[in-house]
């Protein structure tokens, strides 16, 4: 069972889809029940992944590998590590919730709608568990078609424009990414004499010059950055979000965007370590992230449309995720992954909040609302939690993620952190202001007086997310534990020798000073791992370590300017 667990997780939605196709399209409720059951089954079969996942095991778990297209060297190769585990769980859970929140919102073409959603679910899970680049690409593209339909058929007034814009943008990005993949594939062939798309094999390629790595990096970058979306490529996102039906927005924000950040972590960084560690590239990407953070937040302040505001807040929040990734240190990357999950939870909730109110009033103009807290108390509470979680209030999930990312950014470059912090402040500002304008004060619009409060189904779909948000906010240790091993591997790959040798002392010092941080457990654990790494590496690099210990602890800044140099030296070897 264990060795086919991932296939089962992958194929459950597809099996649900196949049976769904045989249900009569007239009986809408039957279809709804079945689709919800299929999504729930998809979630339930993914639970054993959590219980059987072993922390701290290097490499991938639950691996499955079959030859698929030997001529091309493509394999059906699945497997997960801590990063994909979190994202897979996010996907399966959001699948259930998205199905649930479409119950009354979707009234026509119900069968096709749920069919598209189940197909989308398969594609997204596939993206997160593929260990073969060809397989990954197939799933990556598979996602586009159902999403096009979800926006284009069941969306708002400008749905067709938004749908084709989404499609064109992401497709243009992904075909360029394909060229990068093929270049890498071909380089691997030149070095080893056989063709393969397996990531573990491609990682062995060493014959690429830095400039070629950089070209491939930019090719990947376009594919992933459009998906994230990073700053100059974000224009499809507000359109897609605003026009998509509620569940479409929820899935788009919660899962689909994570495919981009996941791509950076799984492919760009490990496969192209030298290009990823290149100072210029890192600087460009960090600046784009920061511009995204601030620009997204500023645009949010201007919005009159509720949904558009949340859409732009995604740009801002994902700026944090990419900033964390390109801090290239354990805190930054772990924080980034956690923040990806957090963003899925909190923005997912915000879109569901909008869905709830839109189904009642059929408008998203913020000025149409005001004082809703009097009419809809349950709604007000849920919205408050979602809003605060998104704004990063301590004890809720957003805080942990943003804080860890800022910590990582601070270690990498203080200026970045300083600018990024302003995003947190702006984030609190636009979210609180949104809450104030819609929920607080007196009811100004007569139409709002008679809105019914949330019903049981609507409350039920928020509960798991709220629970998860509080869990992460109060006790994030399990999540950091899951992430430690893969994050260590990525950092080690990009900056060889980051955890041992001359780096030990300042890292220890930094972590010793960490108790005032939000996640003491994390600090302690990373300190422990650093010590372990140091002790294992000590015999090899005895003298520099000793030298370093006698020397005065260097400030973090100095270490971080030294680290890329070390990486470059390593690459040159």
């Amino acid at each position: 069972m264990d060795q086919h667990l991932l296939s089962i997780v992958l194929l459950t939605p597809l099996a649900g889809l196949l049976i769904l196709l045989f249900l009569p399209s007239k009986s809408k409720n039957l279809i709804r029940v079945w689709a919800n059951l299929a999504a729930l089954a998809g979630f339930l079969v993914s639970l054993p992944l959590v219980s059987r996942f072993q922390n701290g095991v290097p490499g991938f778990q639950f691996e499955e590998r079959f030859d698929w297209i030997p001529t091309l060297g493509a394999h059906y190769h699945l497997g997960i590590d801590g990063i994909s585990l979190l994202l897979v769980m996010l996907t399966t859970l959001m699948g259930v919730i998205a199905m649930l929140c479409s119950w009354s919102g979707i009234q026509d073409r119900v069968k096709e709608y749920y069919a598209m959603f189940l197909l989308l679910q398969t594609g997204m899970i596939g993206v997160f568990i593929s260990l073969d680049f060809f397989l990954f690409y197939v799933f990556w593209e598979l996602v586009l078609v159902p999403m096009y339909f979800i926006i284009g058929v069941w969306g708002g007034p400008r749905k067709l424009y938004a749908a084709i814009k989404f499609f064109l943008y992401t497709l243009a990005g992904s075909v360029l990414m394909l060229l990068g993949i093929l270049t890498l594939y071909f380089q691997h062939f030149q070095q080893f004499g056989f063709y393969t798309f397996e990531i573990s094999e491609l990682m062995k390629t060493t014959n690429m010059s830095l400039s070629m790595q950089e070209w491939v990096f930019w090719a990947f970058f376009i594919g992933f950055a459009i998906k994230v979306p990073m700053f100059p490529f974000h224009t499809w996102l507000p359109d897609a979000h605003v026009e998509a039906p509620t569940a479409g927005s929820v899935i788009l924000a919660a899962v689909l965007l994570k495919m981009g950040t996941y791509g950076f972590l799984r492919f760009s960084l490990p496969l192209l370590p030298r290009a990823s560690a290149d100072q210029t590239i890192v600087r460009i990407l960090a600046i784009l992230s920061i511009v995204g953070i601030i620009y997204g937040a500023l645009v949010c302040l201007m919005q009159k449309d509720w949904k558009k505001l949340v859409a732009y807040s995604s740009v801002s929040h994902l700026g944090f995720c990419t900033l964390g990734i390109f801090s290239m240190n354990p805190n930054g990357i772990a924080g980034s992954v956690l923040q990806q999950v957090n963003h899925g939870i909190s923005t997912g909730m915000l879109f569901m909040v909008i869905g709830v109110i839109y189904e009642r009033r059929h408008t998203r103009e913020i000025s149409e609302y005001g004082g809703l807290a009097h009419v809809m108390p349950k709604f007000a509470i849920v919205f408050m939690i979602a809003m605060l979680s998104s704004a990063g209030l301590p004890l809720l999930n957003g805080f942990v993620g943003e804080f860890t990312i800022l910590q990582g950014a601070f270690e990498a470059n203080r200026t970045w952190a300083a600018f990024a912090v302003s995003g947190v402040i702006l984030g609190a500002a636009y979210l609180l202001w949104l809450y104030q304008r819609t929920m607080l004060g007196q009811v100004t619009n007569g139409k709002n007086l008679t809105i019914p409060d949330m019903n049981f189904r609507e409350v039920a779909m928020f509960l798991p997310l709220i629970a998860w948000a509080v869990w992460i906010g109060v006790y994030p240790k399990p999540f950091f534990d899951v992430l430690r091993q893969p994050v260590t591997e990525i950092v080690e790959r990009v900056h060889p020798g980051y955890f041992n040798g001359s780096q030990t002392q300042p890292a220890l010092a930094r972590n010793a000073a960490a108790p005032l941080t939000a996640s003491p457990t994390r600090a302690a654990s990373s300190a422990a791992s650093a010590t372990r790494d140091a002790s294992s590496a000590a015999p090899l690099t005895a003298s520099p370590t000793r030298d370093d210990r006698t020397a005065t602890p260097r400030p973090a800044l100095a270490r971080n300017t030294a680290a890329p140099l070390a990486a470059q030296a390593g690459g040159a070897r």
Binding site: T71, E141, V153, L168, A172, V175, L176, T183, F186
Partner: protein, 492 residues
């Protein structure tokens, strides 16, 4: 003496073509004698089935012979060469002819032009294609080309009462004859250089000519013009949209798939491999072909964006596909040529499929090729709509459909040849293509239904559509055997 004039292997090398010609003539006779009533004429399909059956049998025999004896089967003193390459292409012609034949009767009945000679024309055209794929002599090749082209001129104008069809046929005929003139002029120059029409001799002589020989260039240029016209590459594509739009849709399907495949087989014979006279001057034509390929993709993709007629849109899309295939030749490595073979194979199924849906849209009173006619198809007949979606996604090159593999090979061959600029251009056009393919999708799935007249379906139509749809998906999801097949086609 008589032995060397006509041997057993001569016969063996053209058996499939003989079968097609024989049954084609038989259809003409029987149609005249036995089936005066148009409604009975669908029984002529039995003849087509037999013809294709025997052809397929002949191809299998040839295949076995080549596998057993190795190398190639030559006939008629080197005028015919049967190799894996020709067999691969002949299978494609066979599939295309068969699929087109079985969907035609309903269409022609609805159009009121169901005549027996239609089926014999299909076979005659296929016979011409056979010689395009096997011919290794300029005369054989030219005769094959003309046999194919003449059959198509008639078929394009088959709807005698429709102005559009007549116009298309005339345009196709005039431009086609013109391009054949160019081609035959190039051939005459080649003959002038080599003193022989046999490709083997010509290859040796052309290779021994000094560099920058203007006579070789003259031959190269005129031959290329003729060939590029046949594959509808820009700037020689003008005939294609009109001919495709005006022709009966079944003929359009046949023309866009089989004729294109045959022309590519012809092109490859002359430009790639040991028997190709122009392989020696590759450095000269490769950049020109690169420019032509880019131009072809540009024209095809950009012109397709604004079409309101689905048939015309698919015509432009097939122009852009020719551009992609041409890029495989520009890359010039083995992967590129395999890519062309794979591309043609997947293109056969997906493009035929897309046109078949249009064929089914032709009802008694409705022409059915405008964007409005296809709108709301999902409500009317979901099966057709979903199949069309699969074909369009495949044409756009999105996995997990077959079309992706064709594009994949072309991109990879370009990367391998370090033609990064071409690769980027090709990929960006692949993204642009989404826009117009999804205009059709939008029309089918989002727009409202305009009329309630049901689709003109028939047993043959359902069968052919199922085959094309299943193949498009199967090649996309489990491509291994098909890639092996395409690869083996290059073993000469």
């Amino acid at each position: 003496m008589i032995d060397s004039f006509y041997t057993g292997s001569d016969h063996f090398s053209i058996v499939p073509a003989l079968m097609m010609a024989l049954f084609g003539c038989a259809i003409l006779l029987f149609d005249f004698l036995v089936f005066p009533d148009p409604r009975q004429r669908k029984w002529l399909l039995i003849f087509v089935a037999f013809a294709e059956g025997f052809t397929g049998f002949g191809l299998i025999r040839q295949q076995n012979w080549i596998a057993g004896n190795g190398g190639v089967l030559e006939g008629f003193h080197g005028a015919i060469t049967v190799d894996n390459f020709s067999i691969f292409f002949n299978w494609i012609f066979l599939v295309a002819a068969l699929i087109v034949a079985v969907v035609s009767y309903k269409y022609l009945e609805n159009a009121g032009e169901h005549h027996g000679e239609y089926y014999s024309l299909i076979l005659f055209a296929q016979c011409g294609m056979y010689f395009l794929a096997t011919g290794t002599d300029l005369v054989t090749l030219f005769v094959g080309l003309e046999l194919m082209a003449l059959s198509f001129y008639v078929m394009v104008g088959f709807l005698r009462s429709e102005k559009r069809s007549n116009e298309a046929a005339l345009k196709y005929l005039l431009l086609g004859a013109f391009s054949s003139g160019f081609l035959v002029y190039g051939f005459s120059v080649l003959y002038g250089i080599a003193g022989s029409t046999n490709l083997k001799t010509i290859v040796g002589i052309v290779a021994s000519r000094p560099a920058w020989d203007p006579v070789v260039y003259l031959a190269l240029i005129t031959t290329s013009v003729g060939l590029l016209f046949k594959i509808a590459a820009a700037p020689f594509h003008m005939w294609a949209p009109d001919a495709y739009e005006g022709a009966p849709t079944t003929v359009t399907a046949y023309l866009s798939v089989a004729s294109k495949a045959a022309s590519f087989a012809f092109l490859l014979r002359l430009f790639w491999g040991q028997l190709a006279p122009f392989a020696a001057v590759r450095d000269v034509w490769a950049p020109i072909f690169a420019a032509i390929a880019v131009l072809t993709m540009t024209v095809g993709n950009l012109a397709a964006i604004n079409q309101s007629n689905v048939k015309r849109l698919l015509a432009y899309s097939s122009i852009s596909h020719a551009g992609y295939m041409l890029l495989g030749l520009v890359a010039g490595n083995e992967r590129g040529i395999t890519g062309i073979a794979v591309y043609i194979m997947v293109y056969t199924f997906m493009n035929l499929g897309a046109f078949l849906v249009l064929v089914a849209l032709r009802r008694q009173k409705i022409i059915g090729d405008e964007m409005d006619d296809i709108s709301g198809l999902m409500k009317k007949s979901p099966g057709y709509a979903v199949l069309m979606l699969i074909f369009l996604i495949s044409l756009a090159g999105i996995p997990p459909t077959a079309g992706f593999l064709g594009k994949y090979y072309i991109f990879l061959s370009l990367i391998e040849a370090r033609q990064y600029t071409l690769a980027v251009i090709a990929t960006l056009y692949a993204a642009i293509a989404i826009y117009y393919y999804f205009r059709i999708v939008k029309s089918m799935f989002v727009s409202e239904m305009r009329e309630k007249e049901p689709m003109a379906t028939s047993f043959g139509m359902r069968l052919a559509l199922t085959v094309s749809g299943v193949m498009t998906l199967v090649i996309g999801i489990y491509p291994e055997p098909f890639l092996q097949l395409a690869k083996s086609s290059l073993l000469r």
